[in-house]
Structures are given as structure tokens and as C-alpha cells.
Symmetry: C2
Subunit: 125 residues, 2 copies
DNA sequence: ATACTATTGGCAATTCATTGTCAATAGCGG
DNA sequence: CCGCTATTGACAATGAATTGCCAATAGTAT
């Protein structure tokens, strides 16, 4: 039978779409639980995996942290991340420095790069 | 009683000092086993933790990988890393791009940053 | 050389994120 | 409104990295 449009899935999608930043499974669970009381962590994992399979969201990997997820259409645009060391939230940074090619050792070939800025977000100053 | 100077600890320190790049526990075990046959993984964990406590080595965290370790005196010098997507080794990059401050969102304060370049190392071209 | 004990290494146990299982629940077509 | 079954959620189970435990080993002071 066809997909069903459930309260839980709506809450999870809404959380991811309205956050404006990459969310961990725990963060998704916390936010979506407001719209879907009693939401199970198991369900968040299930829905996140389905959204990944469907290509709707993409993983954001930050060193030393569990994976986070953001909308694929945002992830598709090259960007980087800022992690607040106080509240542990991760924010998008839609800019990219120049001159990275100069860092590459002789004989090496760079195909991609990731940058994570660390510090305090505006709310945690 | 005082510290003892064992073959295993020597082999582990030598591996870390001569590698010239951050090593994972597995890599340390593989390299040090040449000097200390039968070296147990348990011992590598123990010695690595002691070296961390003593401030002799420092962790290097790379997205989606297990922790690696390098000499603290090298880690103290600001630098970045290059991860080869074929052999999975991580190399030091002793340079840093300018203009990162421009990436910081308004109201945020950046205290540090990490950059990981991805691609092929000279041996894996 | 001897005795003392720091260190080692095999294996079990832990930790933590993630997944399997399955009975109960709740969309949705008819 | 009914019935079918996709979905949910509690719990157990898994996987992978790390640590606890403890008898055996091996530095080192005397």
C-alpha cells in the first residue's frame, strides 16, 4: 500500500525544514516531540533513514560528534559549518575561503575539503 | 615504584615519533608490533592514554574516523590535515588559508577552526 | 641473582549509537 | 464505518571502540 502521512513523519520533516541548521537525531527527537508527543527515538531513526534513502536529507559529519542531517537541497550548495562550543549547535556558513589549493602538499590531489569553525554563536556570547 | 622502560612502550613511542603523521590506535598497533612482537591492542590503548595524560601526545579528530594521535609539540603548532580517500591515511598540512574571519556569521565569535582536505596522497594517485 | 611490583595481554564487560523484533496503533481505500 | 496493513514504540540485540579484570611476565633496585 502507499505511504501514509503520519503525525510523526510530519513533525520530523517540519523540525528539519524549519531548523535552518543541521540537526542530530537527538535534536530532531527533541524538536519533533513538541508536535508529536511520545515520539519514539526508534521512529526518528526510521524516518531519518527513509528521508536519506529518498534523497531528501543529507548527512553532515562534524569531528567528534554524531552525525547531523540537513535538507539535501541545502547540502548540495557547497558550504561549511560553525559549531558553538557552548550549546553544541551547528550552523551553516555559506561562504568559502580562497587559496586552499596552496595548502595541498606536492604530489597530492585535492578533490574536496571541509571546514568547521569553532567558537560562540550569537546566543552564547 | 617508578616507571619502567619497557619494549612495548618504546615501540609505541617510536611509532608515533617516526610516523610524521597522526596515527590511529590500530595504526600504532600495526607499526609498533614490528618492534614488539605480540603487542596487545590493550597495551596500545593503555600507553596511548598514559601519553595523553602526560601531555606527550594530543588527539587529532577527523570527521567520520576514529581518533588519531600525534606528538603534542607538533599539535601545538597550528596546522591542518589531508586525508587520502584511498589509503585512509591522514597527513599534516603546515599552512593555513587567510580570510576565514570573513566566513563568521554576524554576532558569532570564532576561537578556532579545523580544515580537512580530501583527495589522493602522492602514493595513491 | 633475588624479590618486589609495574606492566602486559587475553578475554570479558562496558558503553553508546543504531537496528531488529513484534504486538499495538492508526492512516486510508473501499 | 470496516478492514487491511503501514507505521509506531518499547525492548532486546547488535556492532564497534574502549576499558576492567587478573594471572603471567619482565623491569629494576638491592
Amino acid at each position: 500500500m502507499a505511504r501514509r502521512n503520519t503525525l510523526q513523519q510530519q513533525a520530523i520533516r517540519t523540525a528539519i525544514e524549519s531548523a535552518g541548521r543541521p540537526l542530530s537525531v537527538q535534536e530532531i527527537h527533541d524538536l519533533a516531540s513538541e508536535d508529536a508527543p511520545g515520539l519514539g527515538l526508534r521512529t526518528v531513526y526510521r524516518v531519518v533513514n527513509r528521508l536519506l534513502d529518498d534523497g531528501i536529507i543529507a548527512p553532515v559529519i562534524v569531528p567528534g560528534q554524531q552525525d547531523r542531517y540537513e535538507l539535501a537541497r541545502i547540502a548540495a550548495k557547497h558550504h561549511h559549518h560553525f559549531r558553538c562550543e557552548r550549546c553544541d549547535r551547528v550552523f551553516d556558513v555559506h561562504a568559502c575561503p580562497s587559496g586552499l589549493q596552496k595548502l595541498v602538499p606536492d604530489g597530492f590531489v585535492m578533490t574536496d575539503h571541509t571546514i568547521v569553525l569553532h567558537g560562540r554563536c550569537a546566543e552564547c556570547i
